[in-house]
């Protein structure tokens, strides 16, 4: 089984997100970076799927498109179950709208498949933590002519493909997809593992294949006008007391909030 997981490097933000002076980007001066959370779950899901299979001719290929520093996210994936890694270097984040991104990833998938064979499954995050466009996975699947379902909270391997569950207000929708196919997964599908110390050390040796697929298309119709930071909601901490003595005040408050 070959599974491709597409991940994105995104800022690890606190409760307040600062915007650069020109209003075009998140100010990352104080921030670290991480893998977009839905995609962290996608890597975990792929790792779990192949771990459940017999044999060892399986691969979890992790692909990212982003600045060179995105290699950090690939190495993280290497420490939590990824087996092969590819990077499409794409500097200048603003020029990368969902259309252009999807074209480049589609090209990358074709290149990876030409060399290593078809992916039985391509996993995307439901949406990226920073852009939140909800488009790239669907555009890539469409371009490749493969079925895709978004919002997935459960995946099982079937005879000819995959069974995927999607959470709805009323329960679950269940889809059966024939391989090759694509799925967009949501946080909650699993609890991603942490890297072990050995895993982290091994990830330093991971080979990252660089793909030259960034030139396939220009940005499409979507462009950013300006980011705005929503007005802050002032929050005041009220100390209800220390240790056991605080219990009555906590009860009163819960009562007041209608929780009890």
């Amino acid at each position: 089984m070959r599974i491709l997981v597409c991940v994105k490097r995104v800022p690890a933000v606190g409760s307040r997100i600062n915007v650069t002076d020109d209003g075009q980007q998140v100010d990352t001066a104080h921030l670290g970076f991480t893998t977009s959370p839905h995609e962290e779950c996608a890597v975990e899901e792929a790792a779990q799927i192949v771990e459940r299979l017999d044999g060892d001719d399986h691969a979890v290929v992790v692909l990212t498109l982003g600045p060179e520093a995105s290699a950090e996210q690939l190495r993280y994936a290497a420490s939590v179950g990824g087996s092969e890694f590819a990077l499409v270097t794409a500097e200048g984040g603003l020029d990368w709208d969902p259309q252009r991104t999807a074209v480049a990833i589609t090209d990358a998938v074709r290149e990876l498949e030409a060399a290593g064979g078809l992916f039985d499954l391509i996993l995307f995050g439901n949406e990226s933590a920073d852009g939140g466009n909800f488009q790239v996975g669907i555009r890539v699947a469409h371009a490749l002519g493969r079925p895709i379902v978004n919002g997935i909270k459960g995946i099982d391997v079937g005879e000819r493909g995959f069974t995927a569950r999607r959470e709805t207000d009323a329960g679950y929708e269940v889809y059966e997809l024939e391989a090759p196919c694509a799925l967009g997964v949501k946080e909650g599908i699993n609890l991603p593992r942490y890297p072990t110390m050995k895993g982290r050390l091994a990830s330093r040796k991971a080979q990252i294949q660089e793909l030259d697929c960034a030139g396939g298309a220009d940005a499409g119709g979507q462009s950013r006008v300006r980011l705005h930071r929503p007005p802050e909601r002032a929050s005041t901490t009220v100390q209800l007391g220390d240790s056991a003595e605080a219990a009555p005040a906590v009860v009163d408050l819960l009562d007041e909030l209608g929780v009890l």
């Binding site: 890297p195 110390m197 802050e232």
Partner: protein, 840 residues
């Protein structure tokens, strides 16, 4: 919640371990109107306390740090918030095993139980350590882990319940206001986003943010935020099964600068081995911006990979643990790695309480409360942490960052007592630097100055005087036999010492006599041209300084103090200036100073001047203006080395010419340049002269130091009441000179104790000696006495032992060496005890 106050006696900014403990102790000492502010939420406002590993290894080589740490442990214990689990430092190198012997010496000195462990003993206590990786261990049963957040909460509660404290979290300080004070700006108010609080006193306990807060008031707190990387890995069955927070001793893997601390089912692995990662205060995110807390910055895994490998080497099972939490935790680094405590010199009533670890937090809270209440701490002499120790050139960001960068990787390092800095050198130099360079001077840094410690040009003297080297590299490090040879040459002929790093102040004006009398124990109102060597005391009667004062004219005095003491002394003299009538000036940079001593000194200098330099015309302790080779100088007949001669002061601009004139004339008198090794150690020690920071500390008084004069002057002075009481009280300790009877170690060669302050004086049977005030007898200075063919030490002893002939021992590197008390009381000189040479 109480209304936001418009006024308070004291505002403490920062509710980490230090600020919380400070308010608790201020309340205990009778401060009744305190406000504590923090911009973050309680109980964890987001500073370094919140991510601390919270463990305490009490053994250190510094008395000051140990006093603070052990006191902190007592406080944590009293609150029931200490878990004593023991701790093992493991060695991977022979050098570290040697260092453990030094740690055993320190542990013995401070009375902390400790033990050297074999590899098997280490593994018996921590079975998951790979025995093949280590050579042995150093075990301290009293190592503990504490709850610093809950301690802070309880300290606050104590002050709040006493009705002395109001606390406001989520309150950001926007400005600290000052008004014109008697001789510098004085605190008037703290402005916050919730209102303005008028106040008399402000204490900044803001950890890594402290420099920014100090700047608001126009002051400096020299520290830089720096990263300490830490990860939490687990879970491990071996740890989970213990069902305890800390079932195993905390392990410090000293040679890889890492630690492994059990935290219930997982292990915290922290490091001081990664590259120094320094930040600026403005780079720290706010509580809202931070993904975790402001001081838990994003982990940079590449910097930690080597440490992961080393941790797995030591404890293989760690490799399978999941890294659940990893941070670049911020802590405070200062230019010399010591805390930054005390009154800021720039702003009156603004106190720095910064660069403190959790292990010292409660102790520092107590120390600072004493300092703010009594004018000086009582629990220990704080001179190594005193914020005023920093000179102006030590307070800029380049200096702070460069030095922090240099010492960060020495956090677990083996730091020699005489270790010299590699960076930020050659910034402050005497006027003869080009000449001393040519002479092959080996420089030590003295208060930022380059001071020749010995001269390679004198290497020929080593053979002439038959000086022997030292066998053990540790003893020989930062030392040269040339020093002893220079010493012998000075005693036989004469030597020229560059003492330009002396800190020189002048005080003048119509009110100067009452002012200087108030500062000094000994009478200063003497005829013009006379000098006074005098202690300067704290209000409690302990040493704050010792220095020399010269009356230059009716209304002008010059004060000369040591290169390491200038910052603290300048603060103290400025702090006590009256509102008007006295002018203070720091003349250090304007004045060059040389010393010429030895049997030939007067004859040599006489060839350069028409001033009569004979003892009859120019007696000991006198000061004269004199032309030397046509250069205007002040000559001061005094000696710290025990031979006749002069300190010579001249304008810095003439310093090079004067050096040349003296050395040229010196050709006929066998003059040699002589380094500070003679001036500061061998010469001084033969004469039993005391040194501030070594023999002289606030823990001791002039009676105990043997510096009490027969009579007490009529004028009032700071500490007089306590001094008078000390003169009447039974003596608890007496400074004494000890002579080593043998330096031969078990391996059959001589060792040379450092006198670094951590070497205990023991009974011959090896028992600690503690006086009736609880002060331990320890070597304050040790060194060679080349003229006596002896190795000497100084130490305070209880009166029953302070008798010539008493046989004792000194521990050095965990071995005992026999010593005999050779002198005690006022005259500690073993060389020329009648001072006949100085009067020759």
């Amino acid at each position: 919640m109480s209304d936001f106050p418009a006024r308070a006696d004291c505002v403490v900014i920062g509710a980490g371990i230090v600020g919380n403990c400070l308010v608790g102790h201020l309340s205990d000492l009778g401060w009744t109107d305190i406000v504590l502010l923090d911009k973050g939420p309680l109980p964890n406002p987001g500073g370094s306390t919140g991510h601390a590993s919270n463990f305490i290894f009490p053994v250190d080589h510094s008395k000051e740090i140990v006093d603070l740490t052990v006191d902190s442990q007592h406080q944590y214990e009293a609150l029931g918030l200490q878990n004593t689990c023991g701790g093992i430092e493991v060695a991977r190198s022979p050098e570290r095993m040697e260092e453990f012997r030094r740690r055993m010496t320190s542990a013995t000195c401070w009375g902390i139980e400790a033990k050297l462990l074999s590899v098997d003993e280490v593994v018996e206590m921590v079975p998951f350590i790979d025995p093949d990786v280590i050579l042995g261990g150093f075990y301290t049963p009293s190592v503990s882990a504490v709850d610093s957040l809950e301690t802070g909460t309880q300290m606050r509660r104590r002050a709040t319940e006493a009705g002395h404290l109001q606390t406001f979290a989520n309150t950001e300080v926007l400005d600290i206001e000052t008004v014109t004070g008697a001789n510098r700006p004085r605190i008037s108010a703290v402005v916050t986003d919730r209102g303005r609080i008028e106040c008399d006193t402000v204490a900044i306990a803001c950890g890594v943010w402290s420099p920014k807060l100090a700047e608001m008031a126009g002051a400096t707190i020299p520290l830089t935020p720096a990263v300490h990387q830490m990860v939490d890995v687990g879970p491990f069955d071996a740890l989970v099964e213990t069902n305890q927070e800390l079932a195993y001793p905390i392990v410090r893997d000293m040679d890889t600068f890492c630690y492994e601390r059990q935290s219930a089912g997982s292990m915290e692995v922290g490091s001081y081995a990664h590259r120094p990662i320094l930040h600026r205060v403005e780079d720290i995110p706010s509580n809202e911006e931070a993904a975790l807390s402001p001081t838990e910055m994003p982990f940079t895994p590449d910097d930690f990979d080597d440490q992961l490998e080393q941790a797995i080497e030591l404890m293989e099972f760690l490799g399978d643990g999941e890294i659940k939490y990893a941070i670049n935790g911020l802590l405070s680094l200062t230019p010399d790695a010591a805390p930054v405590l005390g009154p800021t010199p720039e702003v009156e009533n603004l106190w720095s309480v910064a660069a403190v670890w959790v292990k010292e937090g409660p102790g520092v809270g107590r120390l600072m409360a004493e300092w703010m209440t009594h004018g000086y701490p009582r629990m220990t002499d704080p001179h190594g942490s005193d914020v005023t120790r920093f000179y102006p050139q030590d307070r800029n960001v380049i200096h702070i960052e460069t030095r922090a960068d240099e010492h960060f990787n020495k956090t677990y390092g083996i730091v020699h007592p005489r270790e010299q800095w590699a960076t930020r050198r050659n910034l402050t130099c005497g006027p003869a630097k080009a000449r001393t360079d040519d002479l092959g001077a080996f420089y030590f840094e003295a208060g930022g100055w380059e001071r020749p410690h010995w001269y390679e040009s004198n290497a020929d003297l080593v053979e002439r005087y038959g000086v022997e080297g030292r066998t053990h590299e540790w003893d020989a490090r930062w030392w040269s036999p040339i020093t002893d040879a220079e010493h012998m040459h000075l005693r036989e002929h004469c030597g020229l010492v560059d003492i330009s790093p002396f800190q020189v102040f002048e005080v003048s004006g119509p009110g100067v006599v009452p002012y200087i009398e108030k500062m000094a124990v000994n009478k200063c109102d003497l005829p013009v041209g006379r000098s006074i060597y005098t202690p300067v005391l704290t209000a409690d009667g302990g040493f704050r300084s010792d220095l020399t004062i010269v009356r230059l004219s009716e209304d002008r005095f010059r004060i000369a103090t040591g290169a390491f003491d200038g910052g603290r002394d300048e603060y103290w003299f400025r702090h006590n200036l009256p509102a008007d009538g006295v002018h203070f000036e720091n003349r250090t940079e304007a004045v060059a100073t040389y010393g010429v001593w030895g049997p030939n000194a007067a004859a040599l200098l006489q060839t350069l001047t028409e001033t009569d330099l004979s003892q009859e015309a120019f007696g000991y302790g006198q000061v004269r203006d004199a032309l030397l080779s046509g250069i205007p100088t002040q000559m001061f007949r005094i000696s710290y080395v025990g031979d006749a001669g002069f300190e010579i002061y001249c304008p810095t601009s003439a310093g090079l010419a004067l050096w040349d004139a003296i050395t040229q004339a010196g050709r006929d008198f066998e003059l040699r340049p002589v380094g500070a090794g003679v001036y500061g150690t061998t010469g001084r020690l033969e004469k039993g002269y005391r040194l501030m920071g070594a023999e002289l500390e606030s823990d001791y008084n002039p009676v105990e130091a043997g510096l009490a004069r027969p009579r007490v002057k009529a004028a009032d002075f700071i500490g007089k009441e306590a001094y008078l009481a000390a003169r009447e009280a039974p003596l608890a300790a007496q400074l004494s000179t000890l002579r080593f009877e043998s330096l031969r170690c078990a391996e059959g060669y001589d060792r040379f104790p450092m006198g670094a302050g951590n070497e205990p004086v023991l009974t011959p049977a090896g028992e600690r000696i503690v006086d009736s005030h609880g002060r331990v007898s320890r070597v304050t200075t040790a060194g060679n006495a080349p003229s006596l063919g002896a190795y000497l030490a100084m130490a305070y002893l209880p009166p029953e032992l302070a008798a010539v002939g008493t046989e004792l021992s000194v521990m050095y590197q965990h071995e005992q060496y026999p010593v005999t008390v050779a002198a005690t009381g006022a005259n500690l000189a073993l060389f020329d005890p009648d001072d006949s040479r100085m009067k020759a």
